[in-house]
């Protein structure tokens, strides 16, 4: 070893991400441009923070383990911004090592952007390696391979062969170790494959959960997760890893959160809330707390109204819920970053009735509730209900964007349909 050094390991930048699943409350709910811009820019802001981190920690090099771009063809903007940021590192002579993953695989042609010589994109043909030199002496050797196309079913880990003379061998790979079900099983491999390889550090990408340490030491096998959440499901703080390699070749890893926008989902119960004013106060308080705990980054918060209560029927009126959301934004959001933006207000409340009890009665509603429950056991009935949805789901235009419901989704819809039947048929409703 030629003395200690530090490097930064990031993955899954998904530059220019589409941010699937962002919800407006309704068509009339228009979002201000500063919010949209902050979200659109968030992956780039995070990239800038990663580069700042590299400079700040005087890291020897930067690793990006795949899915640099959201789209394989890579938006022009994404590539130009990546280049601009990496130029900052190049100016200090800091090299960057990048492999492409399933999202930004090499199967399509990307615009010819010229990157600085210090930026190394690994080939998709076979594992390549680059030495990292400091004052003419090699301090580490980075091995990596990019995806030639989206679906890679081969265990790439087995292709990685360490050279005996490499002072500190790093494997840069976009893969699914152990078949994590929430992500596609690309470049599947087992942890044992990585441990047996003789490498000193496995810089992995593909799994978005923040800071997944599969093996702590000798070698450290780590997924840093995506540094910026891509949709409201990817909640909480995200970032990348700063790895410090000591003189003895032992590495210590520090996870540094640096996402620009944090996604949050906050359920707020209406239990015990007597009126809309009280509920408004409760929501303001929830948003206020989020504001207090997030002074460094913007938060897009999805508020879910849950529970049973007398407010259910009030909230079922579209304008009431929208007014709540609108007033909440009026009172909590200022046009300054970081901000807390209440994304939407999902009304998931239930009517204040005991459905089990209602199902016991010989009333029409009782029959309806029993029927809805019967669906789970009666494939014929289920089929009948599913068929009733086909007019929309198989519609020649709508069908392109809407998928058929899996069982869980169907049960959820049925539950809401039951609630709706109760709302519409019980006393008090118009």
């Amino acid at each position: 070893m030629a003395g200690g050094f530090t490097f930064v390991h990031a993955a899954d930048l998904h530059l220019d991400s589409q941010f699937r699943g962002l919800q407006q409350f309704s068509e009339e709910d228009t979002w201000p441009e500063f919010v949209r811009r902050e979200i659109r820019e968030s992956t780039f802001t995070t990239l800038r923070r990663i580069v700042d981190l590299v400079l700040d920690r005087q890291a020897a090099f930067l690793l990006i383990a795949g899915d640099v771009y959201e789209a394989a063809e890579g938006s022009l903007r994404a590539q130009l911004r990546l280049r601009d940021e990496l130029v900052r590192l190049a100016e200090r002579g800091i090299p960057t090592f990048i492999v492409h993953g399933n999202h930004d695989h090499c199967g399509v042609k990307r615009p010819a952007i010229t990157f600085p010589d210090t930026v190394h994109f690994f080939s998709h043909r076979d594992v390549e390696w680059y030495p990292v030199l400091r004052q003419g002496k090699e301090i580490a050797r980075v091995y990596g391979i990019s995806y030639p196309q989206r679906d890679v079913n081969e265990n790439y880990a087995l292709r990685f062969k360490r050279h005996r003379e490499a002072p500190f061998a790093i494997g840069l790979l976009h893969c699914n170790v152990g078949g994590v079900p929430e992500h596609e099983n690309y470049a599947p491999c087992k942890l044992q494959d990585l441990l047996a390889s003789g490498f000193d550090y496995w810089a992995l990408g593909h799994i978005h959960r923040p800071y997944q340490v599969l093996h702590r030491e000798a070698p450290a096998v780590i997924y840093p997760g995506n540094p910026q959440g891509r949709h409201p499901g990817e909640t909480g703080d995200r970032g990348c890893c700063v790895v410090t390699v000591g003189d003895n070749g032992r590495s210590t890893v520090e996870f540094v959160p640096l996402n620009a926008v944090t996604w949050e989902v906050k359920p707020v119960t209406i239990d015990g809330v007597e009126n809309l004013d009280r509920l408004r106060e409760r929501l303001v308080s929830v948003v206020g707390k989020v504001q207090e705990t997030n002074r460094q980054r913007s938060v897009v918060i999805r508020l879910q109204l849950i529970g049973r209560g007398i407010l259910h029927s009030e909230l079922r009126k579209h304008h009431n819920a929208y007014d709540l959301l609108y007033e909440l934004r009026e009172s909590c959001v200022t046009e300054m970053t970081p901000f807390v933006w209440p994304e939407t207000l999902q009304v998931l409340t239930r009517p204040p009735v005991d459905k089990d009890e209602l199902a016991q009665t010989d009333t029409l509603l009782g029959d309806l509730l029993n029927l809805a429950r019967q669906v789970r056991e009666d494939p014929g009935l289920q089929q009948q209900l599913r068929a009733s949805l086909d007019v929309l789901l198989n519609h020649h235009r709508a069908g392109r964007y809407l998928s058929h419901n899996n069982e869980e989704e169907l049960w959820m819809l049925l539950e809401r349909a039951e609630d709706m039947a109760i709302d519409y048929l019980q006393d008090g409703d118009e």
């Binding site: 220019d16 589409q18 941010f19 699937r20 699943g21 962002l22 919800q23 407006q24 309704s26 068509e27 979002w31 949209r36 979200i39 659109r40 820019e41 789209a71 063809e73 890579g74 938006s75 022009l76 903007r77 590539q79 042609k109 990307r110 615009p111 010819a112 009665t361 010989d362 009333t363 029409l364 509603l365 009782g366 029959d367 309806l368 029927l371 009935l381 009948q384 209900l385 009733s388 949805l389 007019v391 929309l392 519609h395 235009r397 709508a398 964007y401 809407l402 419901n405 819809l413 049925l414 809401r416 349909a417 039951e418 709706m420 039947a421 519409y424 048929l425 006393d427 409703d429 118009e430």
Partner: protein, 1052 residues
């Protein structure tokens, strides 16, 4: 509840109709009569009693055949309690109702509505309890919520109309959300927007490819531009060459010409440079030198003549130094000479001034004495010192004198004050005391006497009142000595006897009277006994009071004795006091105030005297003090005066020592010293003036003697003081003239020597020029000047042509560039012509213009492509559109879920309804099903009511076939509705039971079904009062054919 009695006073065509209890004996009562007999009116009257007159669709309430509008009805409930409902036409439209409860309480409309009718509205009553054949068939009324709620309410658990409203609402909402072929629903709109966004995104997605394409284009265009630049350079080079050719052709022709000229002139191998010019120049030089030689010889001649003419005065030149010295001092001499008179006058004036100052000091002051006075600062300081000391001591003397005078005046004041105080004391008189008892003691005695008098008065008053009280008590005691009077025993006995006798007499006369008397006797005896007991009690009480009075009297007597002895003591105290106070045995109370005033005056006088004595004492002390102060002040003054005199003697001695007049005081001494100073100053001034005058006079005389010495040496006459200056001027002028002549002589001598040397040099120069001319001609290969000149012309001509040739060659090279190019150019010039070159140049210019146009077009293309590339690099349109699309997709999913929830809800509702209709027909419909069989003689077995659609009733026949109401015959439909309405009436019975009134509803029934219907009504009547109106005899007959028990009321 059933109708027990009914009375119509006046209602439409009904008047004074009485239906008594016997008419309603049975639960089924048939009202039979022809048309217009009043059957329907009677039903209307019953409705009016319940709900008011003038209801919609009811006959007018106004009596047409007499009577007061209104009437009453008696209802009987299940427990036999009766309620009387009376309604009269009043101002209000509905009329005024009076409800009499079983206990006689009277109530109003609201009680009737809430407690008797239990919320049954006129509509429900007309639908369920009292209807005619038209109303029976009015299908839509069954749809009414109030009614249909009863059909379904119990089993669906829903409010009336809920179900259909829910379905309508769901359908409406779903239409708002999505229509498969629509464009305005939310989902359809969203789809449209998403499509548009996708189109934009597709376009923007093509950007990377476009970007590459554009970059490639830029590169291609840049290459083209470079090619054009190369081409341009080539043309420019050729064009430059051609322009050179055109420019060089003239030069080239000249060069050819020069060459041919050179060949014609004979060659002169060498010739001195500038030979002709040099020859000309030497000739010219030779001429000039000769002219100059002649001129100089003339000048030498003139100079020699001038020298010979000059005369010089040597004598005066020998005295040059003295004369110059005298001339230098001449102006000073004149000044001194002229100032002599003024200086003499000044000396005189200063002497007089001095004498004047000296005289001021007094007689006997000589110059020496004046000079001897000491005028130093120390002396002046000593004078100042004496001055201040004398002034200080003088002030001490006058101050102490003033103090002595003041003390004397104070002494006089104090003496006066002492005398006045003594006089005041002597004149003050203190009154004489009546006794020898001291004043303070007498004051105490007076107070004691005053108190004794006050106490004496109180004692007297107490004694008088005590005496009176004693008298009263004694009087009271005496009055108690009389005993209490009882009833005289004799009188009692007499009465008893009288009573006994009268009783006996009465018995004898009539036992009744005897009895009466006996009763009277007994009463009298009772009264007498009671009276005796009261008298005895009074006597005991009197004895107790008497004893108490005796005690009080004794106490009072003791008290009076005490008071008498106190009075005596007081008189003694007064007497003793009077002796001490006024020296008398007695002192009446009215004198007390006078004595008090006298004592006050005495006290006052003593106080004044004491004050006066104190004042005299104080004045004496002050007087003594003043005397002491006068003595001390006088001492101080005398001491101060002595000190002053001593100081003054010292001063006089000091003056003497200083040689100053002893009469001077310090201020005067200071003035005198100033005067001495002035005199001394004047003396010094006079001495200075005298010395100045003497000095000037000596200088004037010295100058004059020096002048006369020089004049004597030169042999000239002697000068006086007044002429000395002029004579010096004349000497000066003569000296200057002599010097000038001497200088001119020396100069001329020097010039003549110089001129001679110059003439010699000129001769040498002329000779040198001649030699040089000879050398030049030899160098030009000529022996004479003419040959030389001819050879020079040929040589110069050749030289010029050679230079021209070289210059033309140089110009050609300048145009062509390198020597090689020049040779190439010469060749090309020889091979081509001017028009050929010009033609080619024009062609090239045209080509060049074309290339320039192409070049700028390509530049513009590159610029616009680069702009496009920059725009693509900077733009985030794609990201914005993608975000927009994702948000729309989310919204689409959200809205799609809304639709799916509603769709599922609707499907579930349909399924539930189907199940409900199949499995849970409402009780009403179930009951109607049991009625439909007898009503349709078994044709139909079941009535079916689809949920929420009570107007779409269906019947099912024995084979299970369902027939909807619209497909039934008029009669069968009537039977179906009668079944439903009767079932409803039964349903209502659980809440409120009202009589059922059927106004000829069985007219459509065939005989068989009529029989069935009447049988059914008979059965129902067991639990429900039914009033059946008919004008059809066959119905009455049919009823009679049944075993149903009924009452009959014939109307009309």
């Amino acid at each position: 509840m059933r109708i027990k009695e009914l009375y119509v006073d006046g209602f439409n065509i009904l008047h004074d109709l009485v239906l008594s209890e016997s008419d309603f004996r049975t639960n089924l009562t048939v009202f039979y009569g022809p048309n217009e007999a009043g059957k329907s009116t009677l039903m209307a009257f019953i409705r009016a009693l319940f709900f008011g007159f003038n209801l919609k669709d009811e006959p007018a309430a106004e009596p047409l055949r007499g009577g007061r509008s209104g009437g009453h009805m008696v209802l009987e409930d299940e427990e036999g309690l009766t309620y009387r409902i009376e309604r009269r036409q009043t101002g209000t439209k509905k009329g005024r109702v009076r409800l009499v409860l079983p206990d006689g309480t009277k109530r109003d409309e609201s009680y009737l509505r809430n407690n008797i009718l239990r919320g049954v509205t006129p509509l429900v009553f007309r639908n369920v309890f009292a209807f005619d054949v038209d109303e029976l068939r009015r299908l839509e009324e069954l749809r009414n919520e109030e009614v249909s709620a009863h059909v379904w309410g119990a089993t669906t658990g829903l409010e009336a109309g809920k179900f259909s409203n829910a379905l309508r609402k769901l359908n409406r909402e779903m239409d708002d959300l999505f229509k498969p072929r629509g464009s305005k629903s939310r989902i359809n709109k969203l789809l449209k927007e998403i499509n548009a966004l996708e189109e934009d995104i597709r376009r923007l997605r093509r950007q990377p490819g476009e970007y590459d394409f554009l970059q490639e284009q830029v590169r291609r265009l840049q290459k083209q531009r470079e090619d054009l630049i190369a081409q341009k350079r080539k043309i420019e080079k050729r064009r430059g060459w051609l322009q050179g050719l055109l420019e060089a052709r003239r030069i080239w022709i000249d060069l050819q010409d020069v060459r041919s000229q050179l060949e014609e002139i004979p060659e002169v191998a060498e010739f001195p440079e500038f030979g002709i010019e040099r020859l000309d120049s030497l000739n010219e030089r030779q001429r000039e030198l000769n002219d100059e030689y002649r001129k100089k010889a003339d000048e030498l001649k003139v100079l020699t003549e001038k020298l010979n003419k000059l005369v010089i005065d040597e004598k005066i030149l020998n005295h040059r130094l003295e004369i110059e010295q005298l001339e230098e001092e001449r102006r000073l001499f004149v000044g001194r000479r002229d100032s002599l008179a003024k200086l003499a006058a000044e000396t005189k004036r200063a002497a007089a001034a001095y004498e004047e100052e000296k005289a001021r000091l007094g007689p006997g002051w000589t110059d020496e004495k004046v000079a001897a006075v000491d005028l130093s600062v120390a002396v002046a300081q000593q004078v100042q010192d004496f001055k201040s000391r004398l002034a200080g001591q003088d002030s001490v003397v006058s101050t102490s004198y003033n103090e002595w005078q003041n003390a004397q005046m104070t002494l006089e004041d104090k003496d006066r004050e002492w005398k006045e105080a003594k006089r005041a004391l002597e004149t003050h008189v203190v009154p004489e005391a009546p006794t020898g008892v001291p004043l303070a003691e007498r004051v105490n005695i007076l107070n004691d006497i005053t108190n004794a008098y006050h106490r004496l008065e109180l004692v007297k008053i107490e004694r008088n009142s005590g005496q009176q009280r004693l008298n009263d008590l004694q009087r009271q005691r005496r009055s108690m000595e009389t005993p209490v009077s009882g009833m005289p025993k004799l009188f009692t006995g007499a009465v008893v006897i009288l009573l006994v006798l009268s009783t006996m007499a009465a018995f004898l006369a009539d036992p009744l009277f005897g009895g009466i008397f006996l009763v009277v006797d007994a009463a009298a005896a009772g009264l007498a006994l009671r009276y005796r007991r009261q008298v005895k009690d009074r006597q005991v009480r009197q004895e107790e009071e008497r004893r108490a009075l005796d005690i009080k009297i004794r106490e009072m007597e003791n008290q009076l004795e005490d008071l008498a002895s106190e009075e005596k003591d007081l008189c003694r105290r007064i007497k003793q006091g009077a002796a001490a106070l006024v020296g008398r045995d007695e002192l009446p109370q009215d004198e007390l105030d006078g004595i008090r005033r006298a004592l006050e005056d005495e006290k006052q006088a003593h106080q004044v005297r004491a004050n006066l004595e104190q004042a005299v004492h104080k004045a004496e002390q002050a007087l003594e003090g003043a005397r002491t102060r006068v003595t001390e002040a006088e001492k101080r003054w005398r001491r101060a005066r002595e000190e002053y005199e001593q100081l003054h003697r010292e001063w006089e001695q000091w003056l003497e020592r200083q040689g100053l007049p002893v009469t001077l005081d310090p201020t005067g001494a200071l003035h005198f010293l100033d005067a001495v100073q002035k005199a001394r100053d004047r003396y010094r001034e006079w001495q200075r003036a005298r010395e100045a005058e003497k000095e000037v006079r000596e200088q004037v005389q010295g100058y004059l003697s020096r002048v006369n010495k020089v004049l004597a040496n030169l042999g000239r006459p002697v000068a006086a003081v007044e002429t000395a200056a002029d004579r010096v001027i004349s000497l000066r002028d003569d000296l200057r003239r002599g010097e000038e002549a001497s200088q001119e002589y020396a100069r001329l001598e020097e010039e003549i020597v110089k001129e001679k040397a110059a003439l010699k040099r000129q001769e040498d120069k002329i000779r040198q020029v001649e030699e040089e001319k000879m050398r030049l001609m030899r160098a030009g290969g000529a022996e004479d000047e003419e040959t030389f000149r001819h050879r020079a012309i040929n040589y110069a001509r050749r030289e010029t042509l050679i230079k021209q040739r070289a210059e033309l060659e140089r110009q050609l090279q300048f145009i062509a560039g390198t020597p090689g190019d020049r040779e190439r150019m010469k060749r090309e010039l020889a091979q081509s012509s001017y028009p050929e070159n010009e033609g080619e140049l024009t062609r090239l210019n045209e080509e060049m213009a074309e290339i320039d146009d192409k070049y700028s077009a390509i530049g513009e293309q590159i610029g616009s492509l680069k702009n496009e590339l920059e725009r693509m690099e900077a733009g985030d349109d794609l990201a914005a559109k993608m975000l927009e699309k994702e948000m729309k997709l989310s919204l689409l999913k959200q809205v799609a879920e809304e639709w799916q929830v509603r769709q599922l809800c609707r499907t579930l509702l349909d399924l539930a309804r189907e199940k409900h209709e199949r499995e849970r027909q409402p009780v009403v419909i179930q009951r109607a099903s049991t009625y439909i069989r007898p009503l349709t003689s078994g044709t139909y077995r079941q009535v079916i009511a689809p949920v929420g659609q009570t107007d779409l009733l269906e019947v099912e026949d024995g084979s299970g076939r369902r027939v909807s109401v619209s497909d039934l015959s008029r009669g069968a439909a009537s039977q179906l509705y009668l079944a439903v309405r009767l079932a409803l009436a039964r349903e209502y019975a659980s809440m409120v039971s009202l009589p059922i009134i059927l106004d000829d509803v069985l007219v459509d029934f065939d005989p068989v079904r009529l029989q069935g219907a009447l049988g059914l009504l008979g059965k129902l009547a067991a639990e429900h009062q039914i009033l059946m109106f008919t004008c059809h005899k066959h119905i009455l007959e049919a009823l009679r054919d049944t075993e149903v028990e009924f009452g009959l009321v014939e109307l009309g």
